[in-house]
């Protein structure tokens, strides 16, 4: 059975939604408190869940990167382990230097909480390979600091290595920009393609009753391979 380990910092609030989502897909889950200095050795997917770690004090994700568990996260990632950062998890991973770029305050300065369409920009990676390039999916976003920034040199590298995995679009796949992100980027992976961070919340798109179940196919992909 696939084992999903979910990190919990003080202020994390999406760990139980994430657990619900992966359990629904048949995975075994374990929530690990940030004070732990190791992560379970049978972990197939490590998730840094969303929320407001350390109250977003100083900068979103800035203090969480020094939690004891983060050393184990770096080691797990360096050994090729699959790491997923959702929302605040994405912010933590960029702050920790495990993903390129940074997440700034939304251009409109408001907290944005709504469903948004996303386009699969690159699927030649272990995360999105069961979605087609150009697929448009409907996934909620909920963030204050989701404005992805990277300098022009870094952006070129992202393009060269197909590291831009998701862009914000309308329902027809035309680029849209809810928060000011460079090139409407919603999710990127590292060069080695084993670490993926995204601002949208696929774990909140698991039930049609709640607006969309497009998260199911995405999360299934995270469990595969």
């Amino acid at each position: 059975m696939t084992k999903v380990t979910i990190l919990q910092f003080p202020g994390t609030n999406c760990e139980y939604d994430t657990e619900y989502a992966f359990k629904k897909l048949g995975a075994q889950t374990e929530i690990v408190w940030h004070k732990s200095e190791s992560i379970p050795s049978d972990t197939n997917l490590l998730v840094v869940a969303g929320g407001f770690s350390y109250g977003d004090y100083l900068r979103s994700g800035a203090i969480a990167k020094f939690s004891p568990v983060m050393k184990a996260v770096s080691e797990y990632a360096q050994n090729g382990g699959k790491v997923l950062g959702i929302c605040n998890g994405f912010q933590v991973l960029t702050e920790a230097g495990l993903l390129p770029g940074a997440l700034k305050r939304n251009d409109g300065l408001h907290f944005i909480s709504k469903h948004h369409h996303l386009k699969v920009t690159n699927n030649d990676n272990i995360f999105l390979e069961n979605l087609a390039q150009g697929d448009v999916i409907n996934i909620p976003i909920a963030h204050h600091d989701g404005n992805y920034f990277i300098d022009s040199e870094g952006l070129q590298e992202l393009h060269d290595n197909n590291q831009i995995l998701l862009n914000y679009t309308d329902k027809d796949g035309n680029l849209q920009n809810p928060n000011g992100s460079v090139e409407s980027i919603a999710g990127v992976c590292n060069k080695e393609k084993n670490i993926f961070g995204l601002m949208p919340h696929p774990e909140r798109a698991m039930e049609l009753l709640l607006g969309s179940d497009d998260g199911v196919k995405m999360l299934e992909g995270f469990l595969a391979s």
Binding site: L58, A62, I63, T94, G101, A102, R105, L109, F149
Partner: protein, 80 residues
């Protein structure tokens, strides 16, 4: 005891949305002489040392490690 004042702001070239909003508000209040506004943050540290060189070295490391995100932010340090 040395007091270190760290000023952190978004790098030139990184859009400062808060600065822009404040600039807009100032315009609405008819403060027309403002060319640009940048909003940053100030962190004041009281250090348990009298050695300025050591203090500067320590605070620089603090800025690089945690106080600033050098992907998007610049920092300056003043020792009092």
């Amino acid at each position: 005891m040395i007091t270190a004042i760290v000023n952190i702001s978004l790098k030139a070239g990184v859009l400062d949305s808060q600065g822009k909003a404040v600039h807009h508000a100032l315009d609405s209040l008819h403060f027309s002489g403002v060319e640009d506004v940048r909003v940053g943050k100030q962190i004041v540290l009281k250090l348990n040392t009298d050695n300025k060189e050591e203090a500067m070295k320590d605070v620089t490391k603090m800025c690089e490690d945690i106080l600033a995100n050098t992907v998007i932010e610049d920092y300056s340090i003043e020792l009092l």
